[in-house]
């Protein structure tokens, strides 16, 4: 079945321990997360025969918890895309919406869960890459607070923004998976212990659907301008939460008007530095060129990287180059601080902030490939959350009249995973 929509890059079973909370469960893993002895390609020709000599921390935790890993899922090359069409291994189709993209970059992970070919999956979210495919495929996805989950063994794209997160059919199952992978790790100095942030790791127990008295802030900037049917579906979901005892009020987040450009400047800048390691000498495809090293590496990289990766490496190099750093990179950091302030203030007066996860229903296949800026702008509602280091969940909110899935995003305060899980579990 999975062959028909191209959800996996590698189908190879990795067995877990004999007992643990995930015994009997299959958990598919995105192909930018290292699995010892099993290829990890990042969706790139550059790494088509790369086999990691060690497990990512999250993979070690899955195995310890008894999970069976059925394979490595398809993704946009190095996580760079919103459609899972930039993979060197072919595009993934959306099993929940024929003829449409599954979203990205963790499109394979969302697709195998939506199709029922895996019980659960791990994705990674740098600017929406777990939440977008969750929304487009009609499943649940969580982007944890920055520092909740170890990134050790994740092939880096933009370190300051990304987190590994779960995808599942229901909020409770996503929370169970999050419980397994969360927690500090001495191999990732950016992890933090939730118990030192006035909370704990009992995420699954928080999925009790109790939204009585929950205060929801709705940022007008993230609803205005979205597709009409998406907006209607969003408000229906808010009505449903209201009927269960929640209240809502509108909030202003003027900074989010600049979130997408700030996100792309920062992500591309970090990518240009992170992807400098791929020269074909220690790993990756070298092409076998000889002579001047810079020229040999440039040829290997021309062959190994696809167009979207080259575009981002070049734009990131440009944004960091002499004369442009203050204009782009420094201003993007200002915008990031502003977004963070705006969210923190709005969350002083609300338990969660709600918006459509994506301002549009799933694209038709091929629709956005020729226009990168159009693809970037679709990330308007997800990127601010990464800039602010906050947790967010996408839950199915309903469908358009054409039967296309629509996701609702709930954003919580830092280490407020239990709050967004509780709120989300009232819907899915």
């Amino acid at each position: 079945m999975s062959g028909t929509y191209n959800g996996y890059i590698t189908e190879e079973t990795i067995e877990g321990a004999d007992d643990g909370p995930l015994v009997g469960k299959t958990v598919a893993v995105k192909d930018n997360i290292s699995t010892e002895g099993v290829p990890t390609t990042c969706g790139s020709a550059m790494l088509d025969d790369y086999v990691p000599p060690y497990d990512a921390t999250v993979v070690a935790r899955l195995k310890d918890a008894g999970a069976t890993i059925p394979g490595k899922t398809n993704m946009d090359e190095f996580g760079m895309g919103t459609t899972t069409e930039t993979s060197a291994f072919g595009a993934t189709e959306n099993p929940a919406a024929e003829g449409h993209v599954p979203g990205g970059s963790s499109g394979g992970s969302a697709a195998v869960v939506a199709a029922g070919d895996a019980d659960l999956a791990l994705g990674t979210d740098t600017g929406g890459s777990v939440r977008c495919p969750a929304a487009f495929c009609g499943v649940v996805g969580i982007k944890p607070t920055y520092g909740l989950v170890s990134r050790y063994g994740l092939v880096a794209y933009a370190n300051s923004l990304e987190q590994i997160g779960p995808l599942a059919p229901t909020v409770e199952e996503a929370a169970e998976l999050l419980e397994v992978i969360a927690g500090p790790d001495e191999n990732d100095a950016t992890t933090r212990d939730a118990t030192e942030q006035n909370t704990d790791y009992d995420f699954a127990a928080a999925a009790d659907g109790d939204v009585d008295g929950l205060s929801i802030g709705v940022p007008t900037e993230l609803v205005e301008g979205a597709d009409e049917e998406v907006v209607d579906t969003f408000w229906d979901a808010i009505d449903e939460l209201e009927a269960q005892g929640a209240t809502y009020h509108e909030v202003d987040l003027p900074s989010v008007e600049h979130a997408v450009e700030a996100y792309y400047v920062i992500a591309m800048s970090e990518a240009s530095s992170n992807l400098a390691r791929f020269d074909g000498v220690r790993y990756g495809t070298s092409g076998g060129y000889e002579g001047n090293w810079n020229e040999s590496f440039a040829k290997a990289r021309e062959e190994g990287f696809g167009p979207e990766v080259k575009r981002r490496i070049l734009l990131g190099t440009y944004a960091l180059s002499a004369g442009y750093q203050d204009k782009y990179y420094k201003k993007a950091q200002d915008a990031r601080a502003w977004v963070k302030q705006d969210f923190d203030e709005a969350l002083d007066d609300a338990d969660v902030l709600a918006s459509p996860t994506m301002p549009v229903p799933p694209f038709e296949r091929g629709e956005s490939l020729d226009d990168p800026l159009k693809m970037y702008l679709a990330d308007a509602n997800t990127t601010p959350v990464n800039l602010a280091n906050l947790p967010a969940i996408s839950v199915p909110a309903g469908e358009t009249s054409d039967g296309l899935p629509v996701g609702l995003q709930l954003v919580g305060p830092a280490f407020g995973e239990k709050t967004i899980i509780r709120a989300g579990s009232a819907l899915a």
Binding site: H258, A298, E302
Partner: protein, 92 residues
């Protein structure tokens, strides 16, 4: 494509800095696309200066010998190795 294209020479220069060869078609395409994308990035000019919280701190640990990959494991993905070392392109 509303913006005037970025100078192709500038695209080639950045590609050179980034060590990525581009063919002529890619240079032409990127010159056009970068104009639109950079015009969009230029709206960051409107962002006010923001007081940033100094929340980043260094996390240090003692520099002690620990278990790590063996030399063999570290080399197993290299296309060419010699005497236990990575082997780069031949310079000649």
């Amino acid at each position: 494509m509303s913006e005037p294209a970025v100078d192709p020479e500038e695209v080639r220069h950045v590609a050179d800095l980034a060590r990525v060869d581009l063919d002529d078609d890619e240079v032409a395409l990127f010159s056009e696309q970068f104009a639109d994308i950079l015009a969009y990035f230029d709206t960051l000019d409107e962002v006010p200066e923001v007081e940033r919280e100094p929340e980043l701190t260094n996390v240090m640990r003692p520099d002690e010998t620990r278990e790590s990959l063996s030399q063999e494991e570290a080399l197993q993905n290299a296309e060419e190795t010699e005497d236990g070392y990575f082997k780069g392109p031949r310079v000649s």
